[in-house]
């Protein structure tokens, strides 16, 4: 695992002809990446330093967009909007990551180790994807009649006499946002973890139990480390999606919970592109740092 980086592959040093062919083969994808990913990204970075007025962007160089984003953040009394928004986004990212990880791991574990036949495994796996057959917005909106003030949950509880007044925090609250996120994105955890678990050599588990390990010890010392790649990949999916999301937070939070995505969206619709670009650059930097930290934990390229 932690051996020194292997010396460059022999192919590239001894066969220059093949190396050129390899470059050629990589060119189309690289070109697409440069044209549709790197160039736009550079443009965003450039625009974030431009000035703007009501209706147009003014080319130039100013850091005023960045200053206005962090305006008031030095004040110790009242937290500034940007900080508050990032904190709330981090909170959701962490909660959703934790819950989807626990659920995703459990479901994958069950599918990989407790379902014996390959047919049943496939069938159950497809079952997990059923929620994805409808659109993401519809899946979110369908929570409303369930959790609303006059929704099913409240009516049932009232009918049973468990509560006297409808519970208000079921909908348009942090609770409903987290619930919707978990509902939407657990699948992104299940797929990579399940994939890693299926590649674990079953004889290792037998060896563990032969050596007298309990089920928990096997889980913790054998299965979890070997599923690490899947866990990290799933975490990257979930965290990056939640960090940039504004639709789910908007719909489920009653538009009352801030998110960076929402701020960027409002700014673009008011033609404040440089300000939006500056926000996007900051968001991108933070997400990249998180991903960088996660990839320190596992060398994904090697494990795949």
């Amino acid at each position: 695992m932690s051996t020194a980086p292997s010396p460059s592959l022999p192919v590239s040093t001894h066969a220059p002809g093949r190396s050129i062919a390899a470059w050629w083969q990589a060119t189309p994808l690289a070109a697409v990446f440069v044209l549709f990913f790197l160039v736009p990204l550079m443009l965003i970075l450039m625009v974030s330093f431009w000035d703007f007025n009501q209706y147009e962007m003014l080319p130039g160089f100013t850091i005023k967009n960045y200053i206005s984003i962090f305006d008031g953040c030095a004040s110790p009394v009242d937290m500034c909007v940007t900080l508050k928004t990032y904190l709330s986004t981090f909170k959701f990212s962490f909660l959703v990551w934790l819950i989807t990880l626990v659920i995703g791991f459990t479901v994958s574990y069950f599918l990989a180790f407790h379902v014996r036949s390959a047919g049943a495994q496939t069938l159950l796996f497809v079952l997990c994807t059923i929620p994805f057959w409808t659109s993401n917005v519809i899946r979110m909106i369908s929570w409303v009649p369930l959790l609303g003030r006059n929704g099913l949950v409240n009516q049932t509880l009232l009918g049973m006499g468990a509560i006297n007044q409808p519970i208000e925090w079921l909908l348009f609250s942090s609770f409903s946002v987290t619930l919707a996120f978990v509902h939407l994105y657990t699948m992104f955890m299940i797929v990579p973890i399940f994939n890693s678990m299926m590649r674990i050599d079953r004889s290792l588990i037998e060896a563990a139990s032969d050596s007298g390990a309990t089920a928990w010890q096997t889980l913790w010392n054998v299965i979890v480390p070997l599923s690490r790649t899947g866990i990290i990949i799933g975490s990257i999916f979930v965290i990056t999606i939640v960090m940039g999301d504004f639709v789910t937070i908007g719909v489920m939070g009653g538009q009352q919970i801030a998110s960076i995505g929402k701020i960027i969206q409002v700014q673009t619709s008011y033609l404040q592109f440089p300000l939006a670009a500056a926000n996007a650059v900051i968001l991108l930097a933070i997400v990249l740092m998180i991903i960088w930290a996660l990839t320190r934990l596992v060398d994904i390229r090697k494990e795949l």
């Binding site: 003030r149 009653g254 538009q255 009352q256 801030a258 929402k262 409002v266 619709s269 404040q272």
Partner: protein, 426 residues
């Protein structure tokens, strides 16, 4: 098809080519290739919000003139964004007057020559002079009379007095107010101040489109007697701070159940009973009612917040498409479309022509504020009001005469948006 034609014509004599062409003409004449015909037809790309883009209007126009309308539906803010950033992506724009302050300085719109508009002099005086039935109405904010005239066909500035060139030809307009659920509130509501009344804690909503939401908030602040704005449509930084502070305090106290951005969201909030009082748009109230749920578009003593939309032409439009666009605008003002809009609860730009296309009892209900003598139906056939009912807000004069302010873009727009984001984050 085209490939095989080419194969035949290449390297053949003129006589053969002519016979091939004849044969093709024969096929075309039989009507077997409608797609080829369609290419000669003018297609106008109509950019606007979905609320105004009615399928029936496009179909009727195509039947009358043979010109096809292709709807491009985006949100209010995106209409402005496209007009500024992609002015060649449409042939006709339907946008609100307040966004002109952002669009006209870019030079992306062409002044509309009123000499080519048959009913131009019949456009209601609300737009040209700001008067209803000889009485001036509120002009705080971006009132249409301030931005309707341009100095020339290619002008980036608004004219102070009437000229031959209009920036937008009005299509629909209305005066907005609070929507309420009378069955759940059970008492009369007559002031904007009720939106922040603690009695409706957790049951109120306001719309999350900053430039419109702030106007509703300003109406509330004024009604509560906290402050009187010299011009709600153009606040100073201090006034913006005060307005947002009031909103934040209410939000922290749990006043708002939700904010909404989309027409359908407001309908759902109201219909499900999550919210009993909120800023609302007229067709949304109609939509709640067609579900059989009581909902009033409540007239308030402080007056209404008005809005108006109109047709504009992109600066680069020319030739047949330009003629087609003028034809569409003329057709639109000619009555059929006006009557159609009036039956939805909007108001049309030229009232006389619309009147001629409506039944007398419809006109009496929608425009004169008289009790319905028979059931009032929407253009799609839903019953909107039973015989004997009166329209909320009464007659055209009572309603439009009660305008207090207009949707606006402020000079301090950037600051306002920043503060609004603060409110959402609070």
């Amino acid at each position: 098809m085209s490939d095989s034609l080419k194969d035949i014509t290449i390297g053949t004599t003129g006589v053969q080519r002519r016979s091939v062409l004849k044969g093709t003409a024969g096929i075309l004449a039989t009507g077997m290739f409608p797609a080829v015909h369609a290419q000669e037809k003018i297609v106008l790309r109509y950019l606007g919000t979905a609320v105004n883009q009615d399928k029936a209007i496009g179909e009727k126009f195509e039947k009358d003139t043979g010109i096809k309308i292709q709807y491009v539906a985006v949100t209010t803010d995106d209409v402005t964004k496209r007009a500024v950033t992609a002015p060649n992506s449409f042939d006709l724009i339907d946008t609100e007057y307040f966004s002109l302050k952002n669009i006209v300085p870019t030079g992306n719109l062409k002044g509309i020559d009123t000499k080519r508009i048959k009913n131009a002099d019949k456009i209601t005086s609300l737009f040209t002079t700001g008067m209803v039935a000889g009485k001036a109405v509120g002009d705080q904010g971006t009132a249409p009379k301030k931005v309707i005239y341009l100095e020339g066909e290619k002008s980036k500035v608004f004219a102070k007095s009437p000229t031959q060139y209009m920036s937008l030809i009005p299509t629909v307009y209305n005066a907005d107010t609070l929507g309420i659920r009378p069955d759940l509130i059970k008492r009369p509501i007559n002031s904007w101040a009720e939106l922040l009344n603690p009695e409706f804690k957790g049951k109120a909503a306001i719309l999350n489109i900053p430039s419109i939401g702030i106007m509703d908030a300003a109406m509330v602040v004024e009604a509560m007697g906290i402050y009187k704005y010299p011009d709600k449509g153009n606040m100073t930084k201090k006034e913006i701070d005060l307005t947002i502070k009031t909103l934040i305090e209410a939000k922290k106290a749990g006043q708002f159940r939700s904010l909404w951005k989309d027409f359908n969201e407001s309908v759902n909030l109201m219909a499900s009973g999550e919210v009993v009082i909120q800023s609302m748009w007229s067709p949304a109230v109609t939509a709640v009612r067609t579900k059989g749920i009581a909902c009033n578009f409540q007239p308030l003593k402080e007056g209404y917040r008005a809005w108006a939309a109109g047709f504009g032409l992109p600066a680069t439009l020319s030739g047949k498409k330009l003629d087609g666009a003028y034809e569409f605008i003329n057709w639109f003002l000619d009555g059929w479309a006006g009557a159609y809009l009036n039956r939805q609860g909007y108001y049309s730009a030229v009232l006389d022509t619309a009147k001629s296309k409506m039944e007398a009892y419809e006109w009496a209900y929608w425009m004169e504020g008289k009790p319905a003598t028979q059931d009032i139906k929407s253009p799609t056939g839903d019953v909107l009001a039973k015989a004997g009912q009166i329209r909320d807000g009464g007659s055209y004069e009572a309603r439009m005469g009660g305008i207090a302010c207009w949707n606006a873009v402020m000079d301090e727009n950037n600051y306002m948006v920043q503060k609004w984001n603060e409110f959402v984050a609070a």
